[in-house]
Amino acid sequence: MSEPAAQLAPPLLATEGLCFMRGEEPVFGPMSFSLKPGEVLMIEGANGSGKTSLLRVLAGLLEASAGSVSHGSDDRSGPGWQVYLGHNGGMKADLSASENLRFATRLTGLRKGTSIASSLKSAGLEGFEDTPLRFLSAGQRKRAALAGVLLAPAALWLLDEPYANLDQNGQILVDRLLETHSSRGGAALITSHGLIRPAVTRLSRIPMACNHA
């Protein structure tokens, strides 16, 4: 760490030549990128291009076939240092949004200055706090999951298709969440199939790559 600039902002997440294969079949890679505090990185790719696999590798759910993922200097031994939102949300359909979020905060901790009620309110779910999720629409369930992201104390967000299923207001909500998160020094990696144009200041985009031997 000789350069002062690098010392000021070590990346929260960096990959080097990351590849993933399912059996003999290459899924993505090699991909090299880094994500510094305050940045939002959008991974673009068609359906089936391996965006979800990439996020699962980064979250530690899948093992990379080659290459490396590093997490800067952040303490990543404790719980709740990163948040992963898959496309099925990770919530129980039999339970209400606030019950699901109570479990989420017990699992990963609670960000200072937030509460379950306030996060549900800012996700636009006021009045639906106690309705079991099975009675909510796909978009409302997505909003409940986003409220969970808001509650987590994590600096690194890994969000798989955060804009999917959401109406226009919902997409503006995601923009606002990402903007707030990056302005307080967090970083987010999101995926998209390419049509989404997030209104976020420090946004960069990279395409999915699949050209390894």
Partner: protein, 227 residues
Amino acid sequence: MRNGSAGTAFWGLLARDGMGLWRRRGELLSPLIFALIVATLFPLALGPESTRLSSVAGGVCWVIVLLAGQLSLDALFRSDAEDGSLDAMLVSGQPLYLLALAKILLHWLSTGLPLLLVAPVIALALGMPPSGVATLIFALLLGTPQLSVIGACAAALTASLRRSGILLALIVLPLAVPVLIFGAGAVEAVLVGGQASQALLLLAAGAVLSLAFGPLVCASAMRMSAS
């Protein structure tokens, strides 16, 4: 406890899944109803002679508990794998050992414990003498947690399959044979006038071992199911 500690994660998972079970509490009854139905089939099939029934009562109770316990296993991890909450648990950075232990405890509380309470009733109805019933309760107390451990490991392993069906039973039942042998053996020993202590000690040793190492196995099965 501070939110996000290992303790809150453990109790939080237990509370969340317990609440989910309570919302679908009809399902909680199915192992018990199954156990009672099977128990009533034996007098019909073997005839009502009390000596014949009481001589097989111990083994019958154990087999019923073992099979009835299978009914609720499939649900233990399946919905977690489908709705992504298994991913959330793995990514959370919490000790998976504790989360697996919470799942095992949940299965025991929701299935093992109710069966433990019903089994003495079945045993008495089949004409088992009270000394045998006392041993049966004690043996089940040591044996049912092991069945929950074995079952939870197999359920975690098969959670990502679309349908586990018979596969789950094929994994669990052979592994449960020692529990069955020593559990039924303890009851049998008392009924023929011998000592149950040897079988019960072996059961206790198995309970200690499986509760210590079972959650480790279950945790790595959870990890495999997510990848």
